[in-house]
Each structure stands twice: as structure tokens, then as C-alpha cells.
Amino acid sequence: MPKGGEAKPTAALWKPALLLIAVYAGLIVLPHLLSFSQKEIAVFLLINVLLVVSYRVLTLTGEWSLGHAVIMGVGAYASALYAKALGVPVPLAMLLGAATAGLVAYVLSFPLFRMKGFYFLIGSFAAGEVIRLLWKRFRDPFGGPKGIKGIPGLSDIEIGTLKIAFWDPVNYYYVCLLVVTLSLVVLYRLERSRFGLTFHAVHWQDKLAESVGVDTRRTRTLAFVVASVFGGLAGALLAHYLGTINPNRFDVEEMVFVLIWVIVGGTSTFFGPIIGVVVLTIVNEMVLREMGVDQARPLIYGAILIASVLFLPQGLESLGPKIKRLFAGRPDRPDRPDRRQLAGEPSRD
């Protein structure tokens, strides 16, 4: 089978492969260079990487959801309940949690995909908020406003004398690294498959896509379900690390952060959202926290957001090519992006 659209000569694959190896070598060494709290941040960062990359799958079809944080919560709650109340082994519970998130998304797709663009944005917010309020209202089984406590973590592994405990952020970091890497590979391949091409087609030319026999509604539903499965998996990873989750962990503020990471990073490439979440987390957690400007932190963060949208409307991902052009000595002007084409603007026809 020919690899879809990737008929590059082997020489051209050298550089990215080396880069990837270097990045992963860095990621494997990284936790040993950090303080305890920074190790925890690194775990959350990996989980958030999966969250934003899964979010981007839906944006490929041109729809923006405000329910993704709650979908992540569905994965977390489901996985926690399977493990705690039903005694399902944790790894299996995580997978079932992810599947549950996908199922919930499938059910929600029926009312939600009657809407488009801005109405979908708000509709998805309302649907998510209803789910979140149900967690809050019903103490049994969701634990009410205080949420679920005492969620079992991954059980320790003993190989001979080597004992691996997963409450330790370093070990859990490696688990996340493995799970997130596998998920990213799947999502990356998906985008380059037939399905991924259909997602793009539905975004940019939905009428044309329909005319050649693409069922746009089904394609959108597929993207929504896939995004939700991996978003749910991110939630499950989070729940079994924290050991306790509550409805406020997945509220609109969390969703706003996801949006910010994705938009500041940019959505036109696979790596845009990853750049966004990594850069903003480092800025927020490490630089600003170290500077000790606690009260002013949101202020600086807000200013960064505004500046990045005003001056880099296509996201941080567009910075690389810009710098390259600068060094090549060509003027930047000619292909200055039309600001109406901000990557991933809700579809307007």
C-alpha cells in the first residue's frame, strides 16, 4: 500500500528522524533534572499535550467545541468509577473510560451536529455544562461537589528486586510518555489517512465534499468521537495520578485554557497545539512562578495572549518559517497572512 502523500526521498526523512530522537532523548532524561513540583508539572504537561492534540482532531473539520474539558472529565470519572466501584484493573479501566467518553460524544453528536459554527460552540458548552452539573448534583455515584476521592492508582510492579511505584511522578511520567506517544502516533497516522483527508475536505469545502459522496455529518461525528476517546484517555491518566477528581477540575476555566493553548500554538499543523501548550506552560508555571509575581500572573498571561493573537495571528507554529525566511534574507511582507484566515476560524459560508 502506498503511504498517503508521503513519497519523500529517504534523505529528506533524515533530519526529522534525528530531531525526533533528540527530542525523545531529552524527554527521557528530563524528569531527573527537575524538582519535585516541576516533575508533577511535567506529568500534567504530558497529559495536556494529549488533550490539545485530541482537541485539534475536531477542529480539523472546522468545528470548535467548548465541551472538551468535560469530555476529558467523562473519561476521568468513568475510569475512576470502573476502578473504584467495580474493581476493574486500572489499565483496563482507563481504556474503558476513554471508550465511555467516545460513547458520550457519539450520543451528544445527535443534537449538537444540527448546529454549526458559533452555535455549535455554545451548544457544546451547554451540553458539557449539563454533564458537569449532573456530577455536582448527584452524590451517588459521582460524589457531588467534592467529587471522587481515593481513586486507585496503577499498582506497583515488582521485577525481581526492582520495584516500580507509580505514585512517584517520575515513574508515572514514563507511563504517560508511553501512552501519549502511542496516542500521538495513532492520531498522526489518522490525519494522513483517508479519514484525515476527509476531515480537511469537510472543513474547507463541505458542499463540494458532499457532492462527491462524503457524508459530512458522519465525518464530523467520527472526528468528534475520535477526539473524545483520546480526550477521555487524557482524563483517565489524570484521574489515576491525582487520586481525586471533582467537577470544578473540568469547568469552563479549564476549557478556556485548552482553547488558549490550541489557538496560541496554531492549528494548521499537528505540532502547533503541542508548541502552544508546552511554551505557555513553561511561561506560566516556571518563568512567572519563579519570578514571584503571583498576583500579577494572570495579568502578564493575559497580555501574552493578546500580544500573540494580535501579532502572530497564525499561532506560534508560524514563527519557525518566519525566522527561516528572515535568515534567508527574503522580506516577510508578501505572504503576510490575511487575518480573516486565522487558522481554524469557525466555518463560515
Binding site: Y119, G123, K136, R137, I260, P298, L299, I306
Partner: protein, 291 residues
């Protein structure tokens, strides 16, 4: 029982007035600029803090403080239009992000100035009416101020939009910015006016209700969510729709809160909105799809 019903109706009218002040401003801004102002709740919060600063801390007369709140927040609106929203016009996602950024800035500016704790505001008036002559049905004068302000200001806005040339220009821009520009209407000017009016209305709502609600830097959160529900149910871009939806939502929410509980009321409100969207995917009165 009749007492409780009448009291709930009065509460609902108050809630509807308050929400209409906020939602109409939000709709106006969206209609003219195609931008959803996520920081609208913070403009409301800013109005409340003008009253905290002038009335509670510096002993100015209450209504002077409210009037200055209107002007101040209106001016903040103009500044927002010029610096943030003009480059983002008709770019809903970009507008969303810059307004979230501005929301964070406003919040932490107020936190730095006043602290995170709840402000205590001495009530400007203690007068309480019994509108139906029943002991059990009360309407505090402070709430009546809010209702009166909503009726007067929204009525004036309606007349302004229908009778004055500037109002026509505003409506024309909302219908079709490019066609309006071709008729010689300055889009920048109409956007500035819309933003000033919308922000001012939110500021007045915050200033008048400051003694009635919990005033703290994050008070905008609860308001913005409800405002979104209302503008969606009403159909974004429709001022009448927003007012109708505010009334419907306030009555449903207040009655369910009284007879069940607050969380159930929130759920019912959201389901109501989803139901409207499923049946009419562009809201009750929305016809255009600008987003």
C-alpha cells in the same frame, strides 16, 4: 402559597431586568462587530467596583457613583474597541482570545487594587415596598432601581436605534457591514458606539446591583454564562430576542430555583437552550448566520 408565587414573580422580574441589561449589550457588540465579548462579565464587575471605590470607600452619593460607573465602563469599552477588537473584527476566535486575555488583565488589576475578598457595601436605601399589600411579598427599593434602569435604558436604546440616524447606521452595520460602509457609514464609528453602549449597560448593571450581590473580583463568571445562554436562546444578533429570552430564562430559572434547587435550575436552563437550538439551530429570533 399565593405570597410565594407573587414573590417569585417579582424576583423573576428583577432577574430578567438585570440579565437583559447585560445580554442586550453583549448582543449589540456581537451584532455590530461579529465578536463575542468574553470580558463582558468583567465589565459588569468593573461597574460594581466603581461603586465600591466611589460610594463605599469615598462616600460619594450613590447615584453619582452609578453615573460615573456608566461613563467609566463605557470609556473602557471604547478603549477595548480601538485596541483589541478593531484588528479582530469578524474573526470570532481571535476576538474570543483577546477578550479572554483582557478578562484576565481586568481581574488581576482589580485583585491588585482591592484584594480578592468580598467587598462590603453599605445599602444606599433600606426602603422596602409591599407591592400587592401583602406582608409576605416584598420589593426592596434597591431592586426597583435595577428594574427601572433596565426599562428606561433599554427603552431609550430601542428608540435610539429606530429613530435616530446614528441608530439606523448601527442597525445597518449589524445587517451587513460592507453594504453599510458603501453607503458612507463609518464602521469604526458605529463599532465604537456599540461597544460604548454595550459596555456602559454592563457597567450600570454592575454598579446598581453592587449592594445586592456578592461583590468580588471573580463575580463576572456566573453572569457571563447566563448571558451566553440568553443571547443564544434569543438568537445572536437580535436585541428583541435577547430581551424576550432574558424574561423567559429568568422566570424559568427563578421558579425552578424556588421550587427545586439552584443546580437543577441551571440544568433546566441549559436544557431549555439546547432544546431551542435543536429545534431552531439559529435561536428564536436569529435569522442571519454571521458566525
Amino acid at each position: 402559597m399565593i405570597d410565594l408565587l407573587l414573590q417569585t414573580c417579582i424576583n423573576a422580574i428583577y432577574a430578567a431586568s438585570f440579565m437583559a441589561l447585560i445580554a442586550v449589550g453583549l448582543v449589540l457588540i456581537f451584532g455590530v462587530m461579529g465578536i463575542i465579548n468574553f470580558a463582558h462579565g468583567e465589565l459588569y464587575m468593573l461597574g460594581a467596583y466603581v461603586v465600591v471605590f466611589l460610594y463605599a470607600d469615598n462616600r460619594l452619593p450613590f447615584f453619582l457613583a452609578v453615573a460615573l460607573g456608566l461613563i467609566f465602563v463605557g470609556l473602557v469599552g471604547i478603549a477595548m474597541e480601538r485596541t483589541l477588537f478593531r484588528p479582530m473584527r469578524d474573526n470570532p476566535l481571535g476576538g474570543l482570545i483577546v477578550s479572554i486575555g483582557f478578562l484576565l488583565i481586568l481581574q488581576s488589576a482589580v485583585v491588585m487594587g482591592f484584594g480578592v475578598r468580598m467587598e462590603h457595601i453599605p445599602p444606599p436605601t433600606q426602603v422596602i415596598f409591599h407591592p400587592f399589600g401583602l406582608e409576605g411579598v416584598v420589593l426592596p427599593l434597591q431592586r426597583l432601581y435595577v428594574i427601572a434602569a433596565a426599562v428606561l435604558l433599554l427603552g431609550a436604546l430601542g428608540i435610539f436605534l429606530r429613530k435616530s440616524r446614528l441608530g439606523w447606521a448601527l442597525r445597518a452595520t449589524a445587517q451587513d457591514p460592507e453594504a453599510a460602509a458603501l453607503q458612507g457609514i463609518s464602521i469604526n464609528q458605529t463599532a465604537r458606539i456599540a461597544m460604548c453602549i454595550g459596555a456602559g449597560l454592563a457597567g450600570v448593571a454592575g454598579a446598581l446591583t453592587a449592594p445586592l450581590v456578592r461583590t468580588y473580583p471573580y463575580m463576572g463568571h456566573s453572569v457571563i454564562v447566563t448571558a451566553f445562554i440568553i443571547i443564544i436562546v434569543g438568537g445572536i444578533g437580535s436585541l428583541e430576542g435577547a430581551v424576550i429570552a432574558a424574561v423567559v430564562y429568568a422566570f424559568v430559572h427563578t421558579f425552578v430555583t424556588t421550587f427545586a434547587d439552584g443546580v437543577i435550575a441551571d440544568i433546566v436552563g441549559l436544557l431549555l437552550m439546547l432544546a431551542v437550538l435543536v429545534v431552531r439551530p439559529t435561536g428564536l429570533r436569529g435569522t442571519r448566520d454571521r458566525a
